[in-house]
Every structure is written in C-alpha cells, then in structure tokens.
C-alpha cells in the first residue's frame, strides 16, 4: 500500500461507498415490518396466569381500531396473582413467549393489556385500555385511573409518566376531540389535578414527556409546555425542535434545540432522544453500561454487567440490563455502585429482549 493520510482515508471511503448502488427502496416493506413489530409487541405485552384468564381478558381487551364511542365503563381484569414490586417492577420479556413482572414469570398472549404506551411506576404498571389509563397494582388487581368519559384512537399515544420523587403519575385522556391532562397520586389513590386543553385538530400530537417536582412536561405539535400543577400555570418551554427525553430531580435531558425558557434551579442537559436520567438526575444512561455524569464533578458509573447491550431504569432507580447472545441474561444493577444481580437467563426467541413499560 502506498502512503496515505487521513484525507486519503476519507477519499478512499467516499470513492468506494459513494459508488455503492443502494438496493431498491422498499417503503411498503418497511411499513409491513413496522406493523409486525407493533403486533409482536402487542402480543407479548400481556399479563395472564392461566388459560381461563386469557380467554376472559381476550374477550374484553382487544385493541379497538379507530375511534370508538365514549364509554364510562371499564372491563373486568383477571388478576395475575400477587406480584412483588418491592425491588422495582423488574418487567422484561422474551417477545411472544414469556414476560417477567414483579418476580413472576407469566405466559405472553396476544392482548392489548400492556402495550408500548404502558409505563412502569413504583406503584404498578400503567397502561391504556381503549384510551382509559389503568393501573396493575402489586396485589394483582387492576383499577381505572380516570373515571370520566374517554375515547380510543390509534393515533393518540399520550403515554404516562411517573414522578420519581412522589407518587404522582401524569397522563392524558381524549374525549370529544379534547385532551385532558391528569395528575393522580397513586399512593393516596386520588386525582391531584386535571387540565382540559382545547387543542382542536392537534390533539393527537399531545404527549406527556415527563413529570418532576409537580411540573408536567407536555409535548404538542407546536412545542413543549410546562404545566405547574400547584398553580395551574401553563408555560411554553421549548419549540417543536426540542424533544424532552427525560426529567429527573430538576434536570431536563433534551434532544435538539435548547429549551427557550430559563427555569431557576433547573438544569438542562443535551442528550439522545432515548437516553434516560438516573433518578437523582446526575447521570445519563444511553445504550451503554457506562452512565455519563451530568456534572464534571461526578465520575461515570460503570455497571458490572459484561456483555449487556440493552438498558433501562427500573421503578426503584436501579438499571435493568440484558445481554446480547443466546441465551440472554437479565440483570438488575444498583446505582451508583454498579453492582449487578442476575435476574434470570432466557433463551430469547421472539426478537430482542424487551423491558416492559419503558419503551420509547
């Protein structure tokens, strides 16, 4: 080989890669694959303990396509049995085969019980049933978190977010083309506040991106807004080019443009859209066993999880990790020590391992 410089390396790569003829684009194939992904997630994101329970749940919980009439009733849910949330929900799954929740291993089934809009909270899994937020508690019982009229829409995915420093969970419901934001105290089992929004034809873009210290971060088609629950203030926080990835302990992790609203005593940190903050807001978890410090004064946290490539936070602030390879090992790692406990080893056959209630 003759002498080369970094610029020659650039030229060599360009001269090769720029001449590569891409395969024919297959947008229809991508849409098909996305539908398969969606169907697969819907299929395994379900908690049942017995075939009889599955039959009952299956009869009442199928996802209803398109908008459905308003309803004040909620279906009956069969209990999966008593769960153990004392060390976090520890919710993970082998897609299509089995899921693990609160210390139990449960058969997966094709119900819309827990889908990608579900949110793991310290008080249980919050999920949406035909647009109505529900909570699967530790005792195995399921309750509606909102009693008013709601309607389901396939295009409306407001999600639910839990405050790591309180028992509050924030979510949104839709009825008559109006969105209502709600904060509910899961410990006291009462509604803390609600706020109807007249969002006209943009309601389907409303997403709850986070809640921290009584401030709810709400994304709309036009930007991100803050709802201060204590005084019902509604303030524009950032434009449409900003995406709030996570909010913990008055630290806002965002992607895109910096937020336009300065907040006293709050800190803004730029990161990937699917990155997450530790509950104390001091480190960022992003596709790596090494958690980057927000402040230069802190050291990185390295999880003792060799081979792990999938990560998320559990509801107790620890990190759930999963290794690549066959079989997959699931771990629960303490923060900040990085010490990991093996939860189980699973021969994953349904695709990448998944953490329930923490999908982006």
């Amino acid at each position: 080989m003759s002498t080369f410089t970094p610029d020659d390396l650039r030229i060599a790569l360009s001269s090769h890669l720029d001449t590569v003829v891409p395969p024919t684009s297959d947008l229809a194939g991508i849409r098909r694959q996305q539908r398969r992904n969606r169907a697969r997630k819907l299929a395994f994101a379900t908690v049942v303990t017995a075939a009889a329970a599955a039959v009952v749940i299956g009869a009442v919980l199928l996802v209803r396509p398109g908008a459905s009439p308003s309803t004040d009733s909620t279906p009956d849910f069969v209990s999966p049995g008593t769960l153990d949330y004392s060390e976090g929900l520890r919710a993970y799954a082998d897609p299509g085969r089995v899921l693990f929740l609160g210390g139990r291993s449960l058969p997966a089934d094709d119900f819309a019980y827990l889908d990608t809009d579900a949110a793991a909270t310290a008080y249980g899994m919050v999920f949406f049933d035909a647009g109505r937020p529900m909570l699967l508690r530790e005792k195995g019982d399921t309750e509606a978190l909102y009693d008013g009229a709601v309607e389901a829409s396939q295009a409306f995915h407001p999600t639910a977010k839990a405050d790591a420093h309180s028992a509050d969970v924030a979510f949104a419901v839709m009825h008559d083309d109006q969105v209502t934001l709600v904060v509910r105290d899961l410990d006291a089992d009462r509604m803390v506040a609600s706020r109807p929004l007249d969002c006209a034809d943009t309601c389907q873009d409303v997403v709850v991106d986070g809640i921290d210290h009584g401030v709810v971060f709400v994304r709309t088609g036009g930007g991100t807004y803050l709802w201060n629950v204590a005084n019902d203030d509604w303030t524009r926080f950032a434009g449409a080019q900003t995406r709030v990835a996570d909010v913990r302990n008055r630290v806002v992790l965002y992607d895109g443009s910096a937020p336009t609203l300065p907040l006293n005593a709050w800190r803004y940190v730029q990161g990937a859209v699917d990155a997450q903050l530790t509950f104390d807001g001091r480190h960022v978890l992003s596709w790596s066993p090494t958690l980057s410090p927000v402040s230069a004064a802190d050291d990185p946290i390295t999880l003792k999880a060799p081979g792990a490539i999938f990560f998320t936070f559990d509801t107790d602030g620890s990190v759930l990790a999963a290794t690549a390879g066959d079989p997959t090992t699931f771990l629960d790692c303490e923060v900040p020590s990085g010490k990991c406990e093996k939860l189980g080893t699973v021969k994953v056959t349904g695709g990448d391992p998944m953490f329930l209630g923490n999908d982006m």
Binding site: M1, S2, T3, T5, P6, D7, D8, L9, R10, I11, A12, L13, S15, H16, L17, D18, T19, V20, V21, P22, P23, S25, I30, R31, Q34, N37, R38, H157, A193, R195, P196, L197, D198, C199, A200, D201, T202, D205, V207, R219, T220, G221, G222, G223, Y225, W234, Q241, R243, D255, G256, S257, V273, S286, W287, T290, S292, P300, A324, G325, D326
Partner: protein
C-alpha cells in the same frame, strides 16, 4: 380543574402533511445515503439492508417522536449502526457469516491516483466492526467524536481509543499515517 385554557395559536395550526407522506419524503431523501453508511459499517449488503430496514421500521413506528428531533436521520443512522453491531455480537453470525458475493461489490474506482484505495478499503473492512464503525462515521460521515459516541452509546474517550487503535492497525501497512493527527 379550572376553566379550559387553550393552546397558543401556533399549536392550532395544521401540522401539514400526514405521517405517511412525511415519513415517505424523509425515507426517500435519506435511504441511499444511510444505506452507504450502514454498508460501510456492515461490509455486507444484505446485513446493511436488513439493519437499515429495521431502523426505518422503528423510526416509522415512533415517527411522532423521531420527527420532533433536530436530526431524524441521525436517529435512523444510530439505530441501523447499532443493529449491525448487535448482529456481529451474535455467535451464530460470527460462525456463519457469508462472504460478500463478487457481483455485489462496489464498482471499482477508475481514478488515477498514487493512493491504493482498494488496498486501503480492504484494510478498513478487515477492522473489527466497532472500529470500522468509528472510522466510517468519522471519515465518511464526518461526525465528531461526541456525535460518534452518541451513535455508539459509549464515551468520547472510548471513541478516541477505538479510532486510535483503528488507525494504528491501518498504519501497520503504512507507518506514514499519524494516528493522532485527525481523530478529533
């Protein structure tokens, strides 16, 4: 709680094109470029196509989220590159990885140059996949160390060390390259 406050007027403006049309436009404008990058990392057309298709499918499923970012293309690139890296980690792939069919190789360059680009390209393809990703993202995509770290989900220091080691390996065949000269 109280009365029904409204969004500011800009929120009430129609969002324009629908999801499908908007995603289709994004897909059409980015597919070729992202395929070449993914191929550069994977070194295999089929693997690159599968990884990229999977990344686009995920982006399509989360389009309302992805489109709100400054760089949706960066999101898809990150998903595709990590998909490739995940495949390389799997034992069956390491055992059974097929060779590149000759008729799928890129067309050779016909430029006259003192640089043996073919040999340099082959040296790049012989790098470990993670180092190859760093090289392609740095020298083909012109990403910064910080941007590469974000793509690969590692620290900037890891990117630096991976780049250093990659250039060191390339330098084995050509000591003239200074590996510290243009990494950052």
């Amino acid at each position: 709680m109280q009365a029904s406050p409204s969004f500011p007027s800009e929120v009430l403006v129609s969002q324009g094109t629908g999801k499908d049309e908007e995603f289709s436009e994004f897909y059409t404008s980015t597919w070729a470029r992202l395929f070449r990058t993914t191929y550069g990392v994977a070194g295999d057309r089929s693997l690159a196509e599968d990884a990229l298709q999977s990344a686009y499918a995920k982006a399509y499923g989360a389009w309302s989220t992805v489109r709100a970012t400054d760089h949706p293309e960066a999101y898809v690139r990150r998903m595709a590159v990590n998909e490739v890296l995940n495949v390389f980690r799997r034992p069956w792939f390491r055992r059974e990885r097929p060779g590149e069919p000759a008729d799928n190789l890129p067309a050779p360059s016909h430029e006259e140059a003192t640089l043996d680009r073919e040999a340099l390209w082959r040296a790049v393809t012989a790098l470990p996949v993670r180092q190859r990703a760093v090289v392609v993202l740095r020298y083909y995509e012109d990403l910064s160390e910080e941007e590469i770290a974000r793509v690969l989900g590692c620290s900037r220091g890891t990117v630096k060390s991976q780049a250093f080691d990659a250039l060191r390996r390339l330098r084995v065949t050509d000591p003239a390259l200074d590996p510290t000269g243009d990494v950052s």
